[in-house]
Amino acid sequence: GTSKQIKVLNRLTLVVSDPSHCNLLRSTSTNIRLYDIIAVFPKTEKLFHIACTTLDVDLVCINVTEKLPFYFRRPPVNVAIDRGIYFELIYAPAIKDSTMRRYTISNAISLMQICKGKVSSRRGNQVVNSNASGPLELRGPYDVANLALLFGMSERDAKAAVSTNCRATLLHGETRKSACGVVYTVKKPRKVEEEETTVPACKKAKTQA
């Protein structure tokens, strides 16, 4: 069969530790429109609340390399899920260091307790760092889905976290670029013989009478 070409997308991650850093997102600058996916990495609880409720982003990154300085609260998380924003966990630090592993798992579990399943897990951007160790920090999709089971997700959510949630984030990014929304259509093969039998039974009785 034919395979589609690999599409390379651009992604921007903003690390915000101060409310003034968010001004870049609020203004409609042309630089922002160049990126397909925009993610924000809030460092304080107030910024986390702002990111979930008002900021125009696709992903909110959860810190895994250190203990979270704030606890998650249910209201901003619910608002974010309603808006279609996904939360991101990276697993590449967990491969390198055992302390990071602990923080990753504990932060992931606390996030899961609050939002119960609508999380997307991704790999870190470690591929850029060095030649040999870059690809070796990637893992296959089913391996990552199994890791998500460790974080406390159900099997269905774990598989969705590496497949459907990621696609939803991409569509959310496209929606953000457009004015109102995105409709994605797929061509379905049509069966011709169905058209003759689609007359409902009650209609048949009337014409016969």
Binding site: A132, S133, L136, G140
Partner: protein
């Protein structure tokens, strides 16, 4: 030599089924010494100990076959320890201070299913 990663996951077996088998392959940067079968088993136990502690390391894991050339093996584990073993293998990062990666190619409760991989079939 990088093989294209493939992994399969069957639905979890019935409670009566005691064992699950997984075929997994290791990848090392080129030029490193390949581990022997005994060293491979030690690596698996080390991975379990690092992630799941002493209880994890005590999980009964068998290495059924091991090919030194391709560094791929078939492991057998009790089905209750399946998630632990798989997650421990995924998160293993270092072997003798060198980076390494585990890739699980196929998992199945039946050994016969490991002889063919439907993900390697190609459409014409």
């Amino acid at each position: 030599r990088r093989a294209a990663p493939r992994a399969g996951r069957e639905p979890p077996p019935a409670a009566r089924e005691p064992a699950l088998r997984s075929a997994s392959r290791r990848e090392l940067p080129d030029g490193a010494a390949r581990p022997s079968a005994a060293l491979f088993k030690q690596l698996v136990v080390t991975a379990l100990r690092e992630l799941h502690g002493e209880v994890g390391a005590a999980l009964p894991v068998d290495v059924l076959t091991y090919e030194e050339k391709t560094m791929s093996a078939i492991l057998r584990v009790i089905s209750s320890g399946f998630v632990k073993l798989w997650s421990a293998l995924t998160l293993l990062g270092f072997y003798q201070n060198r980076r390494c990666a585990f890739r699980v190619l196929q998992t199945s409760p039946f050994l016969l299913a490991l002889s063919g991989n439907s993900r390697e079939l190609v459409l014409d």
